[in-house]
């Protein structure tokens, strides 16, 4: 017989320990998850990462000539790799190459060979004919909309692009519409015009480039960019 009569506790020891463990585990998990959140750094947009902007000048992307404006005489059916070059707040030139998806390719065909993209195939294709200069210079993204490989001309047919990664094919004369392989969308065009002897962009990508899920995702990003860069 003990001197103290044991009172029935309101909850059993087992219950208490289980509840305490559960609460501990929950708090622990939540705090761990929040620290994991820090794995994603904040988004900082600098002018060299901004997408092509109207008024940007096209400059060479090849290491040997990087930063030199592209001249008409250098253009042919074989794509010339280019970066858009804009200005930062202080008016200094910035090549927008910190965003690899800004890589562009410049081609030249006779202007009357371009035609409105035929119906059929997936996703909508936009070809702005007045974004092609009178000399037939057209600018597209150079980055495959499928998995982001840079795409060269098709070795068998210069009017096409052939992606070496998973054999995506695009028709340069039809707004870079997908004509084969897995790419989900056409290569977006970037309208250009000739100003003096420089190629100047009139707009950014006309449809969503690689790296964006769909048009809505791209539009949201453009708005974000506008907000940050002013």
């Amino acid at each position: 017989m003990t001197r103290y009569k044991k009172q029935d506790p309101e909850i059993t020891r087992r219950k208490f320990i289980n509840a305490a463990l559960g609460a501990g585990a929950a708090v622990g998990t939540v705090s761990l998850v929040t620290t994991l959140g820090a794995a994603k750094p904040a988004f900082r947009l600098t002018p060299d990462k901004a997408p092509p902007q109207p008024g940007d000048i096209l400059v060479h992307a090849d290491a040997s000539k990087e930063g030199q404006p592209i001249k008409m005489s250098e253009l042919s059916e074989q794509g010339v790799s280019a970066w858009p070059m804009g200005k930062d707040k202080d008016g200094n030139n910035v090549i927008r190459k910190a965003e690899p998806n800004n890589q562009l390719a410049v081609f030249r065909f006779e202007k009357d060979r371009f035609k409105a993209p035929e119906e059929g195939g997936h996703a909508h294709v936009v070809l702005e004919l007045d974004g092609i200069t009178d000399q037939g210079v057209v600018v597209y993204s150079s980055i495959c909309t499928h998995a982001g490989c840079p795409v060269p001309n098709d070795p068998n047919d210069a009017t096409k692009l052939f992606c070496g990664c998973h054999s995506g094919q695009y028709d340069l004369l039809q707004g870079c519409k997908v004509i084969g392989g897995p790419p989900p969308r056409s290569m977006p065009q970037v309208p250009v015009e000739m100003k003096g002897d420089q190629l100047v962009l009139k707009d950014t990508f006309v449809t969503a480039p690689f790296g964006f899920l769909n048009e809505a995702d791209w539009e949201t990003y453009l708005e974000q960019v506008k907000e940050i860069l002013g």
Binding site: L36, G37, A39, K40, P41, F43, K49, A61, D62, A63, S81, P100, Q103, H122, A123, S142, H146, A147, G148, C149, P150, V151, P152, G164, C165, H166, S167, G168, Q169, V178, G180, G181, P182, P183, P184, R185, F210, G211, L213, N214, D217
Partner: protein, 437 residues
Amino acid sequence: MNQWLDDRLHISRLNDKFLRKAFPVHHSFFLGEITLFSLIVLILTGILLALSYEPSNSLVVNSFDPGTKANPNLVPAAYHSALKINAMPFGDMLRRIHHWMANIMVAAAVIHMMRIYFTGAFKKPREINWWIGMLLLIFASLTAVTGYILPYDNYAYNTVKVIYAITKSVPWIGDWAAQAAFAGRFPGDGIIPRIYGYHIMLLPGILLALTGAHMLIMIKQKHTQPQYAKRLAYKKIVGVPLMTQQTPIMLLLVLLFTGLVVLFSAFIPVHSVEYYGPPSTQAISSIKPDWYLLWVFGALAIIPGFEWEVLGGVISAEFVGAMIFPGIIMAAMFAVPMLDRSKENMYYAENPTNHPVRLAAGVAFLVMMIVLSVAGYKIELIQGGLLTTANANAILWILTIGLPIVSYFAVLGIVRMIRALREADERDALAHAHADD
């Protein structure tokens, strides 16, 4: 000395418990060991590489080709350090051994797995180790893929771009997940430190933990016994003890094996970072993953492009090809032990021909993997004129589905035929035996 240690650490109990573990004597049981040895060599060579590797994608002047003052030749520090490792005495060799070992580790694991599957060793009670083995295979591939990215040459750069895109293609959470996994929008400033952390801390840690569990469970449950053990001593564990009989065999194996790998590392170069150069805008004509991921690559190549919007998320061909489809394959492999519903514990490795359906299904599965891997060479097949752009997908799809079916029935047929012949022989022998009486 032994006594001194034993008084303090009770070594003899360890000896009884683990060091006397019986190892069955059969060459197919060395495959798992080879996988283990490769892991150890990878860790050793990895540590040596990590001493000289610089995990950063900040740009530095390339000291081998500095360019001019006005126009310096800037390359990522990681790439630069890979060049420096190559220039170090024995440095290139280290990279080669590490690289080849990574391939061999995955290969040995795959063949080891085939042994387990075809002899039915995954059955009760060894299901858990099959699942752990699956995880090992998956994490070993992830480790190898992250390792590939570390030299940060143009090839690595384009590979990680593809992996980023695949992560981003997960509906709803992909964008966030990709930025979290790769330290920001591609190519984030911290991408190489991040991958380095995965490759040398997180993933090897996981691999070691899983390997430890795999070994402990194996020791606890004992190996399945080869058939000869049944004849020698039914339901008794037959084999040679780890200490001391198995140990020299293992040592010989590890020395011979590492020696061989070092030998061919000396002659066969690996992925040359100099050839691909630093990340650039240059297209790489044919980018391929390592052989054990070619099947995913092949699936991606033959799935036509599409995008469906579902509840605000986008289900793309990318996601289906690189996540859903391999997910299904992995799930099927995980489910293998569930196919066997026997309650009995399994003691003896089974003769594959006594289980023709399992054998045939396994062969069909391997055939499908091989066809898909060949589909990874679609571009080469088209350029080589074997297929055309128009018919490539259709033909490859037919082969992907058709060849496994054909091989399934072929294996079944062959096995049945062999068994029928064997039984007829036995009957014959019996009949003659009677006639002799």
